[in-house]
C-alpha cells in the first residue's frame, strides 16, 4: 500500500512534528517500503486470537493492581516546576490559548 505525501502531512499534524518539505517525498517512499514489508503480517492466521497488549496476561496476571485512596503525593511545587522552560505565578506558561 502506498503511503502518500498527504498521509505524511496528516500524521505530521497529528504528531505535532514537521518534516522538511524536501524530505516528505523520500519519507513517503520509505514508509511505503516499510509497510510493504509489514504487510507480510497478513499471511498469519489470527482468526479468534485476542490482541496481546501486555505479556503479563500470559503470566496469569489478569487485573490491574489497585492503590488505596490515601494522599501520599503532591505538595511538591519545586519539583514540578524545577525543569520548566518558563514558569510564572507557580504555573507553567504557554503562548495564549484562544478557544
Amino acid at each position: 500500500m502506498e503511503i502518500k505525501k498527504q498521509d505524511i502531512l496528516r500524521i505530521e499534524r497529528l504528531a505535532r512534528l514537521t518534516l522538511p518539505e524536501d524530505q516528505r517525498q523520500g519519507f513517503s517512499e520509505r514508509l511505503t517500503k516499510v509497510f510493504g514489508w509489514i504487510d507480510q503480517l497478513r499471511e498469519v492466521d489470527i482468526e479468534g486470537v485476542t490482541p496481546m497488549v501486555t505479556p503479563l496476561l500470559q503470566m496469569g496476571i489478569q487485573t490491574t493492581p489497585l492503590r488505596h485512596d490515601t494522599i501520599n503525593d503532591g505538595d511538591c511545587l519545586d519539583k514540578i516546576l524545577a525543569n520548566a522552560p518558563e514558569a510564572q505565578h507557580g504555573s507553567f506558561t504557554v503562548p495564549k490559548v484562544v478557544e
Partner: protein
C-alpha cells in the same frame, strides 16, 4: 403523556436529545496518583510527578474511584462489566501533560442501564444509559493573568471523572434538565460525586437534533462543556430554534461540535465533523485490564444507600404522603433525614403528613428567608416535633403555632416554654367557648340576621370575632362546631 413536539407554521418538529454528563468522582486522591483532589489550592501544589507526566512516571489505579463507578452503575440499574480496559486518548493540549487522556473507550466499566425521570403529569419517562466510563480530568489554562500567555495549573489534572452517556431518549429541554437534576441527586445520595456544577465538577456535552415526527432522526450538533443545568436548558432551546429555523429556510444541519456562550445565550460552531480529531485510542500498556468479580459487585450492591426514588416510595407508603410532598422532601440529602427525625419525635404517628407540610412549608420559608440550609436550622427536628405535638394535642392552633415557630427561631426556646410563658394555650373548654360565642352573636344581631338569610361568607366574621376576644386561643375546630350549631 406530555406533548413535547414543537409546532411551527410548517408543522411539527420532534427534538432528540442525548447527554454525555461528566462528573467528578468523589475521592481523596486522583484516579492514578496519590495527589489530593482539591480545588481551593495554590496552583500546581496538588500535583504529583505522575500528574505532571514527568518522564518515566506510571499510573496506578485508585480503588475508591473504581468502586464509585460501580456504585453509580448499580444505582442507574446498569450492567457492570466485569472486564474493562483503560485506553489512551491521544491529543495535544496545554493542560494535558501526558499528551493523552487515560479513558475507557472500547471496554467501559459500566454498560447499559436506565434512569426514570418524573414528568409534570406525574408519569415517568425512562432515559436509557448507554455506558459509564472512568477517565482523567485535564488541568486548567488560565488566560486572564498575563496579556499574551496562558498559565497552566495542573491541580485538577488527573482527577477522576465519570462520563455518563445516555441514549438519545430526551425530547425537550425540560426532560434533559430533569434528567441531570435527578442524576445529580442520585450521585449525591450515593456519595459518588458532589456533582457540583458551580465548581465545575459536573459538566455535560449535549447532543441535539430535530426532525419531523415519523421520519428518521436529523443530523445532530454536539454542544460541548455546558456547565450548569440552566445552561443546558438554554443551550437546547437555542439550538432547537437555530436548527428549525435553518431547516425551514431550506438549509441543512452540519454534524459539528458547538460551544455554548452563556453571556449571549447562543451556541457557535467550534469544529466540523471533517475536523474531528483523530484520537488514536489504544489500550494503555502501563495498566492492565480491570477484572472484577461478581462477589465484589454484589458486595457494593448490598451496601448501596436508599436512593431518592426508593425513599420517596417509602415516605408515601409509610407516612401517607402524596407523590408531590414526598418528592419535595427527598429532593436533597439532608431534608429527608430532618423530616424522619421529626417524625420519630411525634407523639402521634398520624402527624407525619402534617410534619411534611410544616417542613416543606413553614420551615423551608424561614430557611429561605434567612438563606440557611436545613442542617443549619436553629430549630432542630426534635424541637419542631415538640411544636407539632402541641398542635396534635389541641393545645394550640395551627395559626398560633406559626407565631410560636417564629419565636422559636428567634429565641431558641422550646415550643412548650413559649406557649406557657405567653399563655398561648388554646381554649378548648366547650362551656367557656359557648359563653364567648353567645356574647359575640348577641353583640352582632344584624350580622346573625344576614348570615341566616344566606350570606354564608359571614361565618368567617364570627370566627374572627371569637379569635379576637380570645386572643387567638380559641380552639378553631370547636369554635367552628359551636358556631355552626348556634347559627
Amino acid at each position: 403523556m406530555i406533548n413535547t413536539l414543537i409546532t411551527t407554521a410548517t408543522g411539527d418538529w420532534e427534538v432528540i436529545i442525548g447527554l454525555e454528563v461528566h462528573t467528578q468522582v468523589k475521592s481523596k486522591t486522583k484516579l492514578f496518583s496519590g495527589a489530593a483532589t482539591s480545588f481551593a489550592a495554590e496552583p500546581n501544589t496538588k500535583v504529583s510527578l505522575v500528574d505532571a507526566a514527568m518522564p518515566g512516571m506510571l499510573p496506578v489505579l485508585n480503588e475508591v474511584c473504581l468502586e464509585q463507578a460501580v456504585k453509580t452503575g448499580l444505582a442507574l440499574n446498569a450492567q457492570i462489566n466485569l472486564y474493562s480496559v483503560f485506553d489512551r486518548k491521544n491529543y495535544f493540549y496545554a493542560d494535558l501533560p501526558q499528551g493523552y487522556q487515560i479513558s475507557q473507550f472500547y471496554h467501559p466499566i459500566v454498560g447499559e442501564g436506565y434512569l426514570d425521570i418524573d414528568l409534570a403529569d406525574e408519569t415517568t419517562k425512562r432515559v436509557r444509559i448507554e455506558r459509564i466510563h472512568l477517565e482523567q480530568d485535564a488541568g486548567k489554562s488560565i488566560h486572564d493573568v498575563h496579556p499574551d500567555k496562558s498559565l497552566i495549573d495542573l491541580n485538577r489534572c488527573g482527577t477522576a471523572l465519570m462520563e455518563i452517556v445516555t441514549k438519545p431518549d430526551m425530547r425537550s429541554a425540560d426532560e434533559a434538565m430533569d434528567f441531570v437534576k435527578k442524576l445529580r441527586l442520585i450521585l449525591r445520595y450515593l456519595g459518588s460525586s458532589d456533582a457540583n456544577m458551580d465548581e465545575g465538577s459536573l459538566r455535560a456535552d449535549v447532543n441535539v437534533s430535530v426532525h419531523r415526527p415519523g421520519t428518521p432522526f436529523g443530523t445532530r450538533a454536539e454542544i460541548k462543556n455546558v456547565n450548569s443545568i440552566r445552561f443546558i436548558g438554554q443551550a437546547i432551546d437555542y439550538e432547537v430554534n437555530r436548527q428549525i429555523t435553518l431547516l425551514e429556510s431550506g438549509g441543512a444541519i452540519d454534524q459539528e461540535t458547538r460551544l455554548f456562550d452563556a453571556s449571549t445565550v447562543t451556541t457557535r460552531s467550534m469544529r466540523s465533523k471533517e475536523d474531528a480529531p483523530d484520537y488514536r485510542y489504544f489500550p494503555d500498556p502501563d495498566l492492565l485490564p480491570v477484572m472484577l468479580t461478581q462477589d465484589y459487585v454484589n458486595e457494593i450492591k448490598g451496601g448501596l444507600p436508599e436512593l431518592p426514588g426508593q425513599k420517596r416510595a417509602r415516605f408515601m407508603k409509610d407516612y401517607g404522603l402524596s407523590l408531590y410532598d414526598a418528592t419535595v422532601l427527598v429532593s436533597d440529602m439532608e431534608t429527608p433525614l430532618y423530616y424522619e427525625a421529626v417524625v420519630t419525635h411525634l407523639a402521634k404517628k398520624d402527624g407525619a403528613k402534617m410534619a411534611s407540610n410544616w417542613v416543606s412549608g413553614e420551615l423551608f420559608a424561614l430557611l429561605k428567608e434567612h438563606n440557611l440550609s436545613i442542617v443549619d436550622s436553629p430549630i432542630g427536628p426534635q424541637q419542631l416535633a415538640g411544636l407539632l405535638n402541641l398542635i396534635g394535642e389541641g393545645q394550640i392552633s395551627g395559626r398560633t403555632a406559626k407565631d410560636v415557630l417564629e419565636d422559636m427561631w428567634q429565641s431558641g426556646k422550646e415550643a412548650s416554654v413559649i406557649v406557657s410563658e405567653k399563655g398561648l394555650v388554646q381554649m378548648s373548654d366547650a362551656g367557656e367557648l359557648e359563653g364567648i360565642i353567645d356574647k359575640v352573636l348577641g353583640d352582632n344581631p344584624q350580622m346573625v340576621e344576614q348570615y341566616r338569610s344566606g350570606k354564608d361568607k359571614l361565618f368567617g366574621f364570627f370566627v374572627g370575632q371569637v379569635m379576637k376576644v380570645t386572643g387567638g386561643k380559641a380552639n378553631p375546630q370547636m369554635t367552628n362546631d359551636i358556631l355552626k350549631k348556634k347559627l
